[in-house]
């Protein structure tokens, strides 16, 4: 791949620095462009492949080779792993089956595994029984079961090696995120922000399943693994102790959410992991005030940089202090090296739930850029780069408007301008590619009471398509964008009827891929967004598009199977903001386009 000398140099640098550190097996696999060994393609979360057999010139010939039904209905997030052993490893939503499929025999089942789980976990999963996929290292597969059990399987045989209990579903905890293996640890986070859980990120030993450390998202510094003298915020030590307690009303941090249910990325050179935390407990902001005034509710909606060996927090950045809109901060932190104001910086880019695209320095945690990628975003006008705080627009402040008041036309919706669907980054173009949601909302908080294991939401909301400009697709609820993370600008945008809830892929074949909720897998020109190819899979796509090469043939693999929050919120259609109450179906209903069904589809060029 001499076309991209910069990339090769980066890879070599990483390898030298990481010999004694990162899980060598996982890192070796990632550096082989034939493989897709971790859900986001590499530790940096780039979802970029150097493969170019399938490219801009021949993608119109791409054909489905075979399909495989998982036998599970409900939303299929995540994607297939390929670690070079001739098999694809896939997973399903609850009951969280795992399959090893023979790539040389059109998906024959080599082995399958199905855990025995208490189905009472299902009602404590807010947004469908999704799972974002397996992790792999050293012949082991790792899975986060819905019921909070972390398991390791022998990849060769499917035999269960160990299991660890990470939480309690009777208290509202569940798991949906994909683990990440770093060193000899598998790192996992819990879900349950709508049930008043206390968020935590935990490392287990890959060999034994023993817990190595746990960092909470709220509470005393000792629990959060913060040292206020050394952990920094925007480049300066935090200073004040126990902000995870004092920024909450009495005891509220114990049900303070901050569930890290999204993606974890890792910089082997700095030896730091990065992830974000979810919403702070109840959606009723009034119940999270201190002396009647907004309080930061730390460390919800916060980017954490932690030492993977000890869990210690190196730096933190709270994207949304005192959330009033359910803007979980869990979106993937893309680790990208950029030139910023004439200097090379180790960057961290986020296409965030809030509608803002952030660029930070991933070494220091300084905020460099915060610009809107979803132009309708109105809850905040801008960010103050010095303080790192949003300039909140009072008109859309659900706290200022008050309890039992319906604050209308807030953009984006609680789903976020982008949710969990991971973006891609091409080092060739320097751009991020992401499916986004163009949806706004009305939000009405109400007083709610905490009962363990019960929903702890305290707000009702209705959603409507974001306003369109001239030239936009009428009533569109999503789009696919190319975003310049340094300039803070959208380079191109393709409108989609529905929110784009699928993970993107960028390749050296000058292509970007994404799936749609109707079930189309699409390939677009990475330079212009022009659609070059599409295929209708049997169900809506909320999974991620992955690519790999086996015996000289490049494949594209994607799970379809509609569901997730998109499948809940969009199934019957959104309201027409002009039509008032009861305008069912005024906008496109997902139900008119797709039905359930988990299917893996594997594509290749016919002559390859």
């Amino acid at each position: 791949m001499l076309r991209y000398p910069g990339l090769v140099m980066t890879a070599a640098g990483l390898m030298a620095a990481s010999l004694a550190h990162a899980n060598q097996n996982q890192l070796d696999l990632q550096q082989n462009p034939d493989l897709w060994a971790t859900q986001l393609g590499n530790y940096q979360g780039n979802r970029f492949s150097q493969l170019d057999q399938i490219n801009r010139d021949n993608v119109q010939d791409l054909r489905a080779q075979w399909q495989f039904s998982t036998g599970v209905l409900r939303g299929h997030e995540g994607g297939p792993l390929y670690v070079g052993d001739g098999r694809l490893y896939i997973h399903t939503p609850f009951p969280n089956k795992v399959f090893a499929l023979d790539l040389e025999d059109e998906g024959r089942i080599v082995w399958s595994y199905e855990p025995d789980q208490d189905s009472r976990v299902i009602p404590v999963m807010c947004c469908d029984t999704v799972n974002r996929g397996l992790a792999y290292a050293d012949g082991r597969l790792f899975l986060n079961q819905a019921d909070n059990t972390v398991i390791a399987l022998d990849a060769e045989s499917g035999e269960l090696l160990w299991e660890a209990e990470n939480g309690d579903h009777t208290q509202g905890e569940s798991m949906t995120m994909s683990p990440l293996v770093v060193h000899d640890k598998v790192i996992v986070g819990n879900s349950g922000g709508e049930f008043g859980v206390r968020g935590h990120l935990t490392a287990y030993n890959v060999e034994t399943g023993e817990m190595e450390w746990r960092g909470y998202s709220n509470g005393p510094d000792d629990d959060v693994l913060i040292d206020p003298e050394t952990t920094t915020m925007l480049g300066e030590p935090i200073g004040e102790a126990d902000l995870g307690v004092s920024t909450w009303p009495e005891g509220e941090w114990e049900r303070g959410g901050g569930a890290p249910w999204g993606w974890v990325t890792y910089d082997p050179e700095l030896d730091l992991i990065y992830y974000g935390t979810g919403n702070p407990g109840t959606w009723n902001p009034e119940q999270r005030t201190v002396d009647g005034e907004p309080a930061d509710n730390k460390w919800a909606i916060t980017v954490f940089a932690r030492d993977p060996n000890t869990g210690e927090a190196k730096w933190v950045y709270q994207k949304v202090p005192f959330d009033e809109w359910d803007y979980d901060g869990v979106n993937e932190n893309q680790l990208i090296d950029v030139e910023f104001e004439g200097e090379q910086r180790k960057g961290l880019a986020i296409i965030d739930r809030t509608g803002f695209g952030f660029l930070l320095d991933r070494e220091s945690g300084e905020l460099l850029v915060a610009e809107k990628f979803a132009p309708e975003t109105n809850w905040a006008d801008s960010y103050d780069l010095e303080t790192g705080r949003p300039n909140v627009n009072e008109q859309y402040s659900t706290f200022r408007q008050g309890v039992d008041v319906n604050t209308t036309d807030i953009c984006p919706t609680a789903m976020g301008a982008k949710n969990m669907q991971p973006s891609a980054y091409s080092p060739e173009t320097g751009l991020l590619y992401a499916g986004i949601n163009r949806i706004c909302m009305n939000y009405e908080p109400f007083e709610t009471e905490y009962v363990a294991g019960q929903p702890y939401v305290g707000a009702t909301l209705t959603m409507m398509p974001a306003p369109t400009q001239e030239g936009d697709m009428e009533g569109r609820m999503g789009s696919f964008i190319a975003w310049d993370p340094v300039a803070g600008e959208t380079v191109w945008e393709v409108d989609e009827r529905f929110a784009v809830w699928s993970g993107a892929l960028a390749t050296a074949g000058d292509l970007a891929f994404y799936g749609t909720l109707e079930g189309y897998l699409k390939a677009v020109d990475i330079e212009t967004g022009e659609e070059l190819w599409r295929f209708k899979t049997p169900s809506g796509i909320i999974g991620n598009v992955n690519t790999f090469q086996h015996e000289g043939k490049q494949y594209i693999g994607v799970l379809s199977g509609v569901g997730g929050w998109a499948g809940i919120g969009l199934a019957a259609g959104l309201e027409d903001p002009e039509a008032g109450l009861g305008a069912v179906g005024a906008f496109s209903a997902l139900d008119d386009y797709t039905e359930l069904g988990g299917i893996l589809t594997v594509f290749a060029l016919p002559d390859a």
Binding site: G71, V72, L73, R74, G75, T92, P93, F94, P95, S119, R120, I122, P123, M125, C126, C127, D128, T129, E194, N406, N442, E444, F446, E447, T448, E449, V451, Q454, P455, V457, T460, T462, M463, G540, V562, G563, G567, I568, G569, A571, A572, E575, G580, L581, G582, A583, V584, L590, D591, T594, E595, L596
Partner: protein, 171 residues
């Protein structure tokens, strides 16, 4: 809670239909039956399936049904009872399920197929105490008397409720 507590207003629509609906539900009270000028688009009184909608506002029980639905059912059955990609619309369900069947499903759950499960809410006191309210809310939605979103409570209901200490806890 009873319709007679609401001020009478002119402009009665489809009163015959209303009377038939009330008869069918077997919930006519003397007050309701005598309240011929009520601008209620719905059937009245308390109990499963009964609700009051006046100018888009609802009785406390139906409102509680909306909140309980939103807390405990929406995550699968979609906003405002409309259904999701994996769980059916309860607006349609109440057209073909009577209250006994509806409550039985909530209490017992359903195993449709592996991974496609309607969980039992037998251990959930909050849901159990709101089954009638949820049914009423769904009936109001099903009849087309109540639209999407969070309804307001009829003021007189709210005033009256506010004087009852037992009803203050709004979960």
């Amino acid at each position: 809670m009873l319709l007679t507590r609401t001020p009478r207003r002119p402009g009665v629509e489809a009163l015959g239909t209303l009377a038939i609906m009330l008869l069918a539900a077997g919930v006519i009270t003397a007050q309701a039956a005598g309240n011929t000028e009520e601008k209620a688009t719905s059937q009245s009184g308390e109990g499963p399936g009964n609700y009051t909608v006046i100018d888009g506002k609802v009785d406390q029980g139906t409102y509680d049904g909306y909140i309980a639905y939103t807390r405990s059912c929406l995550a699968c059955h979609g906003p405002d009872g409309l259904g999701s990609t994996f769980a059916p619309s309860l607006i349609q369900a109440v057209e073909r399920r009577n209250f006994g069947e509806f409550s039985h499903t909530i209490v017992s759950g359903l195993e449709i197929q592996p991974g496609r499960v309607m969980p039992s809410f037998a251990d959930d006191e909050y849901v159990l105490s709101n089954v009638e309210n949820i049914y009423s809310y769904m009936k109001a939605r099903s009849a087309g008397d109540l639209g999407r979103g969070r309804p307001k409570v009829i003021e007189e209901e709210r005033d009256e409720k506010a004087t009852e200490p037992s009803s203050e806890a709004q979960e």
